[in-house]
């Protein structure tokens, strides 16, 4: 009896405290901002750091007085790497929490899953990851790269004298929409450059594949037929066993370079990089980029990771999607200031042509019509300390082509955002 009453008393006091807490938050006028990244499940490895980066950026904006005199209040939810749950949590953020904007998603399936919700409720989503294109929604702003801002320049580099003048291409990917679409675009691009089908090999593995013996043996066999480069769209975790197998079977970057589109500083934290020196990655930002904005950005992040005692804080690194998150939040804040309101239609209008001095060392512009950022492209070689050495870059930001001209029928698509596309 006594125990039960104790529990009752405890729950009562806890709920009163919780109510008090929510009152005190509501008391000051804030702008609610949703963060929709998986904090558990398979994608947690990549998305957790984006959530932390978003929180850091919001904290920084608040420290400078917030937006339009109001502080930002982050609402973090966990869609748990479960695609339908993304739609559910997205709806919850828009209808219950009434957030002004959502920053989130990593995989293309999760974005496709929330898209109808955002279009139906006229919400606003910032998507920070490189992707396959073929989409342009009025309710989404894409701060990651489209294929022409990552994949195509990377292949052009491999074809150049400095990139090794590759004649044969081994396209290796995980079996889902992003690698399949990217490889479709790349195959058309390679054809346009005179590479024959017999010099292109396309191989897919299931999600979470961990045995790359046969594939590496096949790459070796294929590479005997001429200077070969591997273009990898292998996703997340599977990269570790792939790179380990490459190293163990003695395939060096000088013989067969591998250029990856999903491997960044964060992924390399889980790998011993000494055998990987010289393999390549194509992104729009690397932590090693040398400029004052980036030095500040990296230092801020390391300090934040330490202050919040994030796991592995002593080895905290920044990467491209984190930079895209940071840029996205700042651009949104600037647009809200310009529009003088958080109304989605007004903010959307204010976002067109918005510029921001990004850590990549360039002033990035949000395109006036296509909802994508103009981004510079950089090719980095992996170094023995897990960082990248930039060996090539475009020199100026490129405009995105979400509708790739290498996919038939895309020439008829409009170059502005339309619902249901």
């Amino acid at each position: 009896m006594k125990r039960r009453s104790l529990i009752k008393a405890f729950t009562l006091s806890a709920s009163i405290a919780a109510m008090g807490l929510s009152w005190s938050i509501q008391a000051a006028e804030t702008i609610k901002v949703g963060i929709l990244h998986s904090l558990s499940g398979t994608m947690a490895i990549s998305e957790t750091s984006l959530k932390d980066m978003a929180l850091m950026t919001i904290e920084q904006i608040n420290a400078k007085g917030g937006v339009n005199g109001k502080l930002l209040e982050p609402v973090v939810v966990d869609p748990a790497s479960n695609w339908p749950l993304f739609a559910e949590k997205g709806r919850q953020l828009l209808t219950q929490d009434k957030v002004a904007v959502v920053f989130g998603c990593w995989t293309s399936v999760s974005r496709k899953s929330v898209l109808p919700v955002f279009e139906e409720l006229n919400g606003l989503l910032f998507y920070p990851v490189q992707y396959e294109g073929e989409e342009m929604s009025p309710n989404v702003f894409y701060t990651g790269a489209a294929p022409n801002q990552q994949a195509i320049p990377a292949v052009e580099y491999l074809m150049s004298e400095d990139g090794g003048a590759a004649k044969r291409y081994f396209l290796l990917g995980t079996d889902y929409v992003y690698p399949r679409t990217t490889n479709k675009i790349l195959r058309a691009f390679l054809h346009s450059k005179g590479v024959a089908d017999k010099d292109i090999e396309e191989v897919y593995t299931p999600f979470g594949h961990s045995d790359y013996q046969t594939i590496v043996a096949n790459i070796k066999k294929f590479s005997a037929g001429g200077k070969t480069a591997v273009i990898s769209t292998v996703n997340g975790d599977s990269n570790v066993p792939f790179y380990k197998e490459l190293a163990n079977q003695g395939l060096k970057a000088t013989d067969v370079p591998v250029v990856a589109f999903s491997v960044g500083e964060e992924e390399l934290r889980g790998i011993d990089t000494k055998p990987l020196v010289g393999h390549l990655a194509a992104w729009n930002y690397f932590e090693s980029v040398d400029n004052p904005v980036n030095s500040q950005f990296v230092a801020d992040w390391k300090a934040y990771a330490k202050a919040k005692n994030l796991p592995g804080a002593d080895k905290a690194v920044t990467n491209d999607p984190m930079e895209a998150t940071y840029v996205g939040i700042h651009m949104w804040a600037q647009a809200v200031e310009k529009a003088g309101s958080t109304d989605v239609n007004k903010v959307r209008e204010a976002l067109a042509g918005q510029t921001f001095k990004a850590p990549s060392g360039y002033t990035l512009t949000m395109d006036k019509s296509n909802h994508h950022l103009h981004k510079p492209v950089m090719i980095g070689e992996i170094q023995d300390d897990g960082q990248f050495n930039v060996v090539w870059e475009t020199g100026q930001p490129l405009r995105a082509q979400p509708w790739s001209p290498f996919i038939p029928g895309n020439d008829k698509r409009p170059d502005y955002a339309v619902k249901g596309n």
Partner: protein
């Protein structure tokens, strides 16, 4: 006179030094294209004084004492390797010359022919002489004298080098080779090379099958005890593997910090630690949760699944959601070159041996010790065993601990070839159940055959129909097999089984 001598002496000493310094300066000042041309020139006309510069360049520096990192790209790195090999042919060490000649087989360019010819004529070591001959033969395919081409083609036929096949095929393209003698010789050589390559490929497939099988075996062996013998549908088995892998990581970090000299052997030290951690957690689970659920498979399944989620999230909170870095020690990196197109990685060879060792150990434990006798007694007839004075509760706990501990050992092996992250176990749990069910519940030998059988079948199918379809086909075949033979490959016989 002495003054003149001194001058001569000084110039003799300083000249190579000066030449080297200027080479380095010249190299660093040049643009990438110029650097590439420079390296090609050096490769064609080696000068011993440049050896030090090239060795440093290969390590990404300008001189052995210079600590600044040089920024080279892949193309330059390849050219440095080639130029360095050219220079190393002048070395007095026969092993160094052999390695250099092998490098040149891959990378030598036409301008190097004259130099290679000279070295080939003066080479005294038989192995180096043969290797140089091959390097030269690759280039001589383009020679103007048909006799030279004929000799080169014949020589290439004796190698099993995949590059030789491409070169011969290019030669046999219509209109390339006009001399009919050389053409017929090239055809015979090509057939020879293809035969050798096929042999290497088949051997490679068999090895990767064995290797995949050994990994499946290590992942499934613990489950063969907890599920096979005790009958607990243990969905948290994968997490025992994961705990073993994380124990390896912790051991690695601790040794790095407190005893860096022993870092080469950290996987060996990690073995007992991983066993203890996983066994401890397993026994704790058995005593607190699973013990109450014996004979209720559905509840066990749900409870252990819940436990697996708790363990995953606990690890995520402790170590973070990101994968942790487990580095291979030197003796587990790289591989042994058996044939020109077949490299067997050391880590995989060691894991095959380790898997067999663990099976042997488990078998001995179950069949040659008192604990094993008790375990078998309890699994066959619990009531009778209890009547005979076997402490069934304790035996359950120890057997569950043993199964979990063996899973921990598997985790150490898995950490050497794959990812170490909170989700590690999830990717092995299905495969583990497949192996145990296919092999026959309650049979160690069954798991052994099932693991190697699945591994080899997977690797034979993968090159034909791809990894995705291969996996689906294997799954379909297993379902059909289980329909036909629900007890698996090996069934327990006897009255006690009902």
């Amino acid at each position: 006179m002495p003054k003149a001598l001194l001058c001569l002496f000084l110039s003799l000493v300083l000249l190579p030094l000066a030449a080297q310094a200027s080479d380095a300066d010249y190299f660093i000042a040049a643009k990438a294209n110029e650097q590439a041309r420079l390296l090609q020139d050096w490769a064609a006309q080696p000068d011993p004084a440049r050896l030090e510069l090239l060795t440093s360049l290969q390590q990404g520096r300008l001189s052995p004492t210079d600590t600044r990192k040089l920024r080279l790209n892949n193309r330059l790195r390849g050219l440095v390797d080639n130029a360095l090999a050219s220079h190393q042919l002048l070395s007095t060490d026969a092993r160094l010359r052999l390695a250099a000649a092998q490098q040149l087989q891959k990378s030598a360019q036409p301008p190097q022919v004259a130099f290679l010819d000279r070295r080939f004529a003066s080479e005294t070591d038989a192995a180096v002489h043969a290797a140089l001959g091959l390097a030269l033969a690759n280039l001589q395919l383009a020679a103007s004298d048909p006799a030279v081409r004929l000799a080169a083609v014949r020589l290439l036929g004796e190698t099993g080098d995949p590059m030789a096949r491409t070169r011969l095929e290019a030669l046999l393209e219509p209109g390339v080779e006009t001399d009919s003698n050389v053409r017929t010789a090239a055809e015979t050589s090509l057939a020879q090379v293809k035969r050798k390559l096929l042999f290497g490929e088949l051997l490679g497939q068999a090895f990767s099958g064995l290797s995949l099988g050994s990994i499946l075996l290590l992942a499934a062996l613990g489950l063969a005890i907890t599920f096979g013998l005790l009958g607990v549908i243990n969905m948290a088995h994968g997490e025992m593997l994961m705990l073993g892998a994380y124990a390896t990581y912790v051991v690695q970090v601790l040794i790095q910090r407190y005893a860096p000299s022993a870092i080469e052997f950290y996987p060996l030290i990690a073995l007992p630690v991983a066993f203890a951690v996983s066994a401890g957690v397993g026994m704790l689970l058995e005593r607190t949760v699973i013990r109450h659920l014996y004979g209720r498979p559905l509840e066990t399944l749900l409870a252990t699944w819940g436990i697996s989620l708790i363990l995953i999230q606990a690890i995520r909170l402790l170590f973070g959601a990101q994968n942790v870095e487990v580095a291979n020690p030197g003796w587990l990196s790289g591989g042994i070159q058996v044939l020109p197109n077949l490299v067997l990685p050391y880590s995989r060879i060691v894991i095959i041996g380790f898997a067999l060792f663990v099976v042997l150990l488990t078998w001995l434990l179950l069949n040659r010790t008192r604990l094993g006798l008790n375990v078998r007694a309890v699994t066959q007839n619990r009531n009778m065993a209890a009547c005979c004075g076997v402490p069934t509760g304790r035996v359950d706990m120890l057997a569950f601990g043993l199964g979990s501990g063996i899973a921990g050992l598997g985790g150490v092996a898995l950490s050497q070839i794959g990812n170490v992250g909170p989700d590690l176990g999830q990717s092995y749990i299905i495969d583990s159940f497949l192996v145990v069910v296919l092999g026959g519940v309650g049979q160690l030998a069954g798991s052994l055959w099932a693991a190697f059988g699945l591994g080899i079948a997977n690797k034979l199918l993968e090159p034909q129909i791809g990894a995705v379809l291969g996996k689906i086909l294997i799954l379909a075949l297993i379902i059909l097999f289980i329909q036909k033979r629900p007890q698996g490959l090996f069934a327990l016989k006897g009255r006690v089984i009902d």
